[in-house]
C-alpha cells in the first residue's frame, strides 16, 4: 500500500512534467518538484516517458483500487439511516406533534369550560390509526396517544377538570414492557367491565396519522430521486354515547429525502 502511495505521489507530482530537447539529450522535468532527470540517447528517453505514462495510468488505477477498499467502509456508515435519505417518521416528529397538540388541548373549550364540579368524564385512549404511507410499530402508535394524555402536566390539568384517565390493560402492559409509559401511576382499565362495574368510559381519545407522498426527479428523464412526505397527525375526543366530536387538534409537518428511490 505504501508503495502504491509512492507511485501515486510520483505520478501526481509529475502531472506538470514537460520534456524538452537539449542537443542530443532529452530532458524530462517534473514541474512541481523541479526534479531534473537527464538521459542520454533516444531509447532510454522514450522508455522513461513510457514508464511515466504507464506509472501514471497504473498509479491512478492503484489510487482508485485503494480508494475502492476505503470507500465501502465509508459508505457502510453513511449508506443507511442517514438523515435526508428517508422520509420515515422519527421519534422527534411525534414528539413535536405531541407537544403542539398538548397545548392545543389545554387551551381548548373542552378543557377550559370544565371545572372540578363538572360531570365526570372517563377518558380512555385508543390506538392511533395508521393511514400513512409508512409502517408504524404498535408501540409508537400507542405512545403517540398516551404521551398526550399521560403527560404529568396534562394529568394534573385533567384532574382539576374532573376527567379520569384510564389506560387499556394490553396497551399499558405494552408500554410498560417497552419502558415508554408516561406515568407508572396511571390507572389501568380492568380486563372487562364485569370486573369493575364502575368502569365505563364516557369518552375516547383517538388519533390518526395520514400522509401524502410525492416522488419526482430534478431531471425529467431520470428516475425519481426526491421524495416528499406531508404528514398530518390528528387527535380527537369523542363522546361515546352521541359519537359527538368534543375536541379535535392536528399537527402537520413535512419530510423530504433525496437519493434514488430504487437504489
Amino acid at each position: 500500500m505504501l508503495l502504491a502511495w509512492e507511485v501515486v505521489e510520483i505520478a501526481t507530482s509529475c502531472t506538470n512534467a514537460v520534456s524538452r530537447r537539449e542537443g542530443s539529450r532529452r530532458v524530462h522535468v517534473c514541474g512541481t518538484r523541479a526534479a531534473r532527470i537527464e538521459r542520454v540517447g533516444r531509447g532510454s528517453t522514450t522508455r522513461s516517458k513510457g514508464l511515466f505514462l504507464i506509472l501514471r495510468t497504473i498509479s491512478m488505477l492503484a489510487l482508485c483500487v485503494g480508494m475502492s477498499a476505503a470507500l465501502p467502509s465509508c459508505a457502510s456508515s453513511s449508506g443507511r439511516n442517514d438523515s435526508g435519505r428517508s422520509t420515515r417518521l422519527r421519534a422527534g416528529d411525534i414528539e413535536l406533534a405531541v407537544a403542539e397538540v398538548k397545548l392545543d388541548l389545554a387551551e381548548s373549550s373542552f378543557i377550559t369550560s370544565r371545572d372540578k364540579a363538572s360531570t365526570k368524564v372517563r377518558l380512555v385512549p385508543s390506538e392511533m390509526e395508521n393511514l400513512s404511507s409508512d409502517r408504524m410499530s404498535r408501540i409508537d402508535r400507542w405512545s403517540a396517544v398516551s404521551r398526550v394524555l399521560f403527560d404529568p402536566s396534562m394529568q394534573q390539568l385533567l384532574a382539576t377538570k374532573n376527567v379520569d384517565l384510564f389506560m387499556p390493560r394490553d396497551a399499558a402492559l405494552l408500554l410498560t414492557r417497552f419502558g415508554t409509559e408516561s406515568d407508572r401511576d396511571a390507572r389501568v382499565a380492568p380486563i372487562s367491565i364485569d370486573e369493575s362495574p364502575d368502569f365505563s368510559p364516557t369518552h375516547t381519545f383517538a388519533g390518526k396519522i395520514l400522509s401524502i407522498t410525492r416522488a419526482a426527479s430534478q431531471d425529467a428523464n431520470a428516475p425519481a430521486d426526491q421524495r416528499q412526505e406531508v404528514v398530518r397527525v390528528e387527535y380527537s375526543i369523542i363522546e361515546l354515547a352521541s359519537r359527538k366530536v368534543e375536541w379535535s387538534g392536528a399537527h402537520e409537518f413535512k419530510r423530504t429525502a433525496s437519493g434514488l428511490l430504487i437504489d
Binding site: L3, A4, V7, I37, E38, R39, V40, T46, R47, S48, G50, L51, L53, I54, L55, T57, I58, L61, A62, C64, V65, M67, S68, A69, L71, P72, S73, A75, S76, S77, S78, G79, R80, N81, D82, R85, S86, R88, E129, N130, L131, S132, S133, D134, R135, M136, R138, T213, A215, N221, P223, A224, D225, A257, S258, G259, L260, L261, I262, D263
Partner: protein, 623 residues
Amino acid sequence: MNQLDSNYEPRQKVDAMQHRKIGLRRSASRAVIGLLLAACLGTISFGCQGYQRDVDVISEVRAGEFGAARMLASNRATRNPSDRSYMLDRLKVMLLEQADGVPQAAESSADALYDFLRTQGVNRDNTVTSFFIGEQGARFWKGEPFEQAMAYHAIAVFDATRGDWGNVRAGVTNSLFSLRDFSRTLANVNSLSTRRDTSLSQQDWSTDPDTAERVSLMKTAAKAEKNGSADGLATYTPARSDFEIGYAMRAIASRHLGLREDMNESVAALSAMRPEMATLASTIASGRYNTILIVDYGLAPRKVGTGPDNAIAVFRPITASDSSPLNVRVAASSLNFPVTTDVNRLARDLKWNNLEDLRRAKSLIGDVLLVGGAAVALGAKDDEAKLAGAAVAIAGLIMKATSAADTRHCEVLPQRVYIAPVWLEPGLNMVELSIGGRARLVIPDVPGPPAGRVFARYARLNDKMGPWATSGVVRYSNDVSGETRTPATVGMNNEQGVPFASSARLASLPYILGGACVRVPTDRLLTEYQQAGFLRGVSLNDLVDLYKSEEIWIDGLSPEPGPRRHILEGGSSLFTPEAGSTGFVRLFCQQHQTYSPRSSRVQELAAQIRVQLFGGETVAQLP
C-alpha cells in the same frame, strides 16, 4: 576543450549517480508494477466471483422443511450490518421464518428490512468503487425492483398475519412504485435491426431472447451516447406498476380500514391489468370473506450473468410458470383462484429490472480499451507507445474483469403468489390447498375469526413436501388445536408389543415427560394435566422450571432471541407456529422422535410417570 574536459568528468559522475538513481527507481518501479499487476489479478479474480446460491437451504425449501431451512439460513447469515449482503440474508431469513409460521422471530428482520428499503440512495457513494471492484463487492444488495416489491409484500404479509392492516396498506403502497418502460427504445432497436448486426449474431447469447433484448438495449444506448444523442437507457416512459399482488393486498387493507376510494382504485387497477382477476377483485370489494389466504408456491428464478463479459444479468426460471389455479376446499365448498403474481414474469420484464447502466457502460469501456490498447501495443513502432498501449490494455482488463453482473438474488422467494379470500366458520376448520395436482397441503385446525374481523393466513407450498403435508391429522396438543384427539406420538406397549394403555391420556402430558403435549405452560394447562392424573402437587413455576432445566426456550415466557428449532424436531424451543402455516402442519401432523430428557430432574419425573401409568412397562416408539 579543457573547459569541456574539466566539466566532462564531474558531469560523468553526475550522470553515473543519476543513472544509479534511475536504476534504483526503475527497480522500484518494476516492483511497483509487479505489485500492481498482482493487485490487478486479485481484482480480476475478485471481480469474477459469482454469487453462490445456498443449495442446502433450497433443498430444504423444496421439501417444505422450513424449520431446517430457516435455521440454516439464520446460521449462515452475516451478522455484520456493514456487509454488502446483510439485507439479502435478512430477507431470506424473514421469508423462511414466515413460511415456518414463526412471525415473532421474523419481526426484527421485517423492521430492519423495511427501514433499509425505505432508505434512498443506499449505493450513492459506491459508484467509483463498483467501477473497480465490481458491483457485488461494492454495492449494498437492495435487489432488483421486483425483488424490492416482493420484499415489501413479504413485510405486508407479516403485518397481515398480525391483523395490522394500517401497516399492510403502508407496506404494499410502497411496493407500487413507478416503473421504467423501455418499449419505445426497444421498438427503435427492432426497426434498426433490419441491417444485420453481425457482432451480435455471432455470439452464443444472441439465441437467448432475454439476453438478446438486453444486449440490443445496451448497444442502442451505447450507440446513441456515441452519436451524442439521448442515451437509450434514459429514454423510457414512466409506467404504472403492474404488481398485481400489491393492488390486491392494498384493496383488502383499504377495505378493512374503511378507505372505500382507495379500495375502489386498487380493485379497478387489478381488474384492468388482468381481466382474469376481475372475479377476485369483485370478491375483495364485496367483503364476503373473513379470511385471506396468501399462498406462495415454487422457487423464484435464478439470476445469472450472460452476454459480453457476463455483464448482463438475466433470470432463468427454476419453477416453470403456468396458469394452474389454486384450489381451496373448506368444508363442502371448493373454489379456484388464479395466479395473482408470477415472479418469473416480473424477473423477465425489463421494467422490473434495475438495468445497471454503469455496469454496461463499464463493460463497453473495457472492450474499447482492450481492443484499442492491444492494437496500440502491437502496432506501435516505439516503446513509448507500446508501454502506453499496454497500460491502457491492463486498465481495460481490470474493467472487463469487474464488469460481471452482480448475480446476488434472493433464491428463496416464491415463483408465484395466490390470494384467496374465503369464509371460515367459527371454531376450527380444515382447509385443503392444491395447485394443479403437483402440490397439496391439508391444514387442520384453522380458526375462523371472530365476527366482524378479517384474519390473514400464510402458507407456502412446494411439490416435494412429505406425507405430513396431506395427513390432516394433528398428533400433538398445541396452543391452537388444544388437546389432540389422536395423540399417536408415543405408543405404550407391553413386553409382547401389544398396546394396553389408552394413549388418549398422553395428550395431556408434556412432551418432555413422554407425552404428546407441546403447549406453553399456563395455570389452566397445569390444571388440565392434573385432571388427567399427572403432575399433582406441582406448581406452574415448578413446571416452567422443568423446561428451564432442559434449557428450553418458551414462547412468551423466555426472553430473546426468539424461537429456534422446535423441541419436536430435536431443537430447544417450545412454541406453536401460526395457525394455517406450513410450519404448523409439518410440526404437528407427523410423528416425531420421543423426547430424551437431558436433566436428571426431568429424567426421574418421566420415569415416575411411566411407572405410574404402565406399571414399569417400557415406553416404546410406535413404528
